[in-house]
């Protein structure tokens, strides 16, 4: 999913007598799912292939995991796919956009996820679009689903993803003159150590962590 992890307690540079410090856990990666996908997912994929001739080019991966269908879409094809999903496949609602920052995925650091909902067919799918830290641009889907306006502003505010074509991409939760994008992994949580009855508890981000 994200990256290999070594060690166990997040401590480094200290004497490790447990042996766990040498532990390396490799993350499972999710490949493309094989047909049949199960549930209504095959139907959705068939319908989309029929309605959208460039399916194989635009959809790079289809992932079925934990009962959810995720279509990985090339970012330059996102708006086309979105229009087809809305108009032909009846995904009338987009429930927003959620960003995730994976600093270890070179060239694909920033990910935007769009949960879609079809009221007509009572179905849910998810679109996943990735872009790089160096070119944090993803086309806006506000012209497709107007309700994504604030959600895209939030994701811009928190992750620095620039949604091209958004009618007014400004910060929404943080102050306008804020530096940085708080929910990126390279942005520190902050916080201060607290002293109580002589003992000092470090800030949450400084505490020893288990991975």
């Amino acid at each position: 999913m994200t990256h290999d992890q070594s060690g166990m307690f997040g401590a480094s540079g200290t004497g490790d007598t447990s042996g766990y410090g040498g532990l390396v856990r490799t993350q499972a990666s999710f490949g493309s799912a094989e047909r049949p996908y199960g549930s209504y997912f095959d139907q959705v994929a068939d319908d989309l292939e029929r309605a959208y001739p460039d399916f194989s080019d635009a959809i790079t991966r289809v992932v079925v995991d934990r009962g959810e269908l995720t279509l990985h879409v090339k970012k330059e094809r996102l708006v086309e796919v979105a229009f087809i999903l809305r108009d032909k496949l009846k995904f009338e609602m987009c429930m927003g956009v959620s960003g995730v920052h994976y600093p270890e995925r070179t060239g694909q650091e920033l990910v935007a996820l769009y949960p879609l909902l079809s009221l007509t067919k009572n179905q849910r799918i998810r679109l996943e679009v990735a872009t790089s830290d160096l070119d944090p641009h993803i086309p806006s889907v506000v012209e497709v689903w107007a309700g994504n306006n604030w959600h895209e502003r939030e994701t811009f505010d928190m992750f620095g993803i620039i949604f091209d074509g958004h009618p007014g991409l400004t910060r929404i939760l943080m102050p306008d003159d804020w530096d940085g994008h708080p929910q990126r992994k390279d942005y520190p949580l902050g916080g201060i150590a607290v002293e109580y009855k002589g003992a000092t508890t470090p800030a949450p981000s400084e505490r020893r962590s288990y991975r």
């Binding site: 934990r66 995730v100 996820l113 959600h151």
Partner: protein, 444 residues
């Protein structure tokens, strides 16, 4: 004209601009009287008694007609999503519960359902735990709708309904206190189940509560339904039809007020909602009055569900309220004491006095927490304001890699301009109240 620091005017290319920040209203009126046009920009909020919390509305007015509304939010941003990445999976519940402070149980449940999906234990959650979750959610829906109705009416100038609404809400909060030890921000729903079982005799107490509430709800219904002043302030106000709702992603009572019976409890049941009989309430007026009626009538449906849950709970007496897997069922044991929720004394006696292995297990689970297999999941519940969903990403560790909440208040507040532009300035209050935004949820 003498210089007035609170009501100064300056010349711009657009004409004379008057800035009023308080002070002498008379001098402003005199000066505006000399101007030719009536365009006024009013900053309403963020500190305003009618904006449901720290919401800022920038209104452009022509006389009393609103020509443009811009909404400013973010005053209550607390970084809850970021903070959750620095706590273990169970501790994160205590953050989630603080987002939308009127519907804490829904925040917790959405998050926990997503975590359970990631863990692959959705089917292992006991029937009793799910029933208790439903019970708590429906009680919470009542307490939340009570604030929506009470403060909504108060903002439109009706004071009586608020007294009744808070009387009812208080009783529900007392029930929460008896069950969880807390009146709000309970952190009661945990990944794998709920923190602890209902106290003895709770179901019969709650049956009494249902009876009282059913009787009391009639007071507010009698005050407001069909009340001509109330109708004049709400009928045809804040109109938003089905097409507007779908394109703006609006769910909950606002969507149901357009006539579409979309309720996740019916359409995509979770926590065993498919086992309970209830109706999805709709209205067809798509206005503030319709949303008021939807909320008002949903109260009775919540009571119906609660009654069925209580019957079910009586048959499930003694069933555990947490998954059997002891590697997930954290915290080890809790009990509600005289001073609130805490570790049960029996458990402390065991880990401190008799079993070293229990102590190690407790220590590992509490300090380290459990690991969640890598992946992502999206779980949605029907909160009092619409679809509340948690998108949770795990990298396989003991802490969430990313948690995002799809907050209905945040999304629905976008519809303020669509509901209010072209209407009267006084009707903005009604329109915003009918969305029922909770700024803690909007800003997170």
């Amino acid at each position: 004209m003498t210089f007035d620091p609170y009501a100064s005017s300056r010349e711009t290319t657009e004409g004379t601009v008057f800035s009023v920040t308080g002070g002498d209203w008379d001098s402003l009126v005199t000066e505006i009287g000399e101007a030719k046009e009536e365009r006024i920009i009013v900053n309403m909020g963020p500190q305003h008694p009618s904006t449901h919390g720290v919401l800022r509305l920038v209104l452009e007015l022509e006389g009393e007609t609103v020509t443009e509304v811009r909404t400013g939010i973010g005053y209550l941003h607390t970084g809850i999503e970021k903070n959750m990445e620095f706590r273990n999976w169970t501790q994160a519940v205590t953050f989630a519960t603080r987002m939308d402070y009127l519907s804490p149980i829904f925040n917790e449940t959405a998050y926990c359902l997503a975590v359970e999906k990631l863990l692959g234990i959705t089917g292992d959650v006991t029937e009793r735990a799910s029933a208790i979750r439903v019970l708590m959610m429906e009680l919470n829906r009542i307490s939340s709708h009570m604030v929506a109705l009470g403060t909504g009416a108060l903002e439109l100038g009706a004071m009586g309904p608020m007294f009744f609404a808070f009387r009812e809400r208080e009783m529900v909060l007392d029930a929460f206190e008896a069950i969880t030890g807390l009146r709000m921000n309970m952190a009661y729903v945990r990944p794998g189940g709920v923190a602890q079982d209902l106290p003895a005799g709770m179901t019969s107490q709650l049956r009494e509560l249902v009876k009282t509430l059913r009787k009391n709800f009639k007071d507010n219904a009698a005050l407001l339904i069909g009340n001509s002043i109330w109708m004049k302030r709400t009928e045809g106000i804040g109109y938003l039809d089905l097409a507007g709702c779908t394109t703006l992603g609006i769910t909950g009572p606002v969507l149901r007020s357009t006539g579409l019976p979309w309720d996740l409890r019916k359409m995509q049941p979770y926590c065993g909602y498919e086992n309970y009989e209830f109706d999805v309430i709709t209205a067809d007026t798509a206005d503030v009055y319709g949303r008021f009626l939807v909320r008002m009538n949903e109260l009775e449906q919540s009571l119906r569900i609660i009654e069925q849950v209580l019957d079910k709970l009586d048959t499930l007496d003694g069933q555990p309220v947490m998954v059997a897997d002891k590697k997930i069922a954290w915290p080890a044991q809790l009990a509600l004491g005289a001073d609130g929720l805490g570790n049960s004394l029996d458990h402390i006696r065991e880990i401190m006095g008799s079993s070293m292995e229990s102590l190690i297990h407790h220590f590992k689970l509490v300090t380290e927490g459990f690991r969640v297999p890598a992946g992502q999941a999206y779980a949605a519940v029907e909160s009092p304001r619409g679809e509340l969903a948690a998108h949770v990403v795990s990298d396989g560790g003991t802490r969430p890699y990313r948690v995002h909440f799809r907050e209905p208040s945040f999304n629905n507040l976008q519809s303020t301009p669509a509901m209010s532009e072209g209407g009267m300035v006084a009707d903005i209050i009604g329109a915003v109240a009918s969305i029922d935004p909770v700024m803690g949820g909007v800003d997170r």
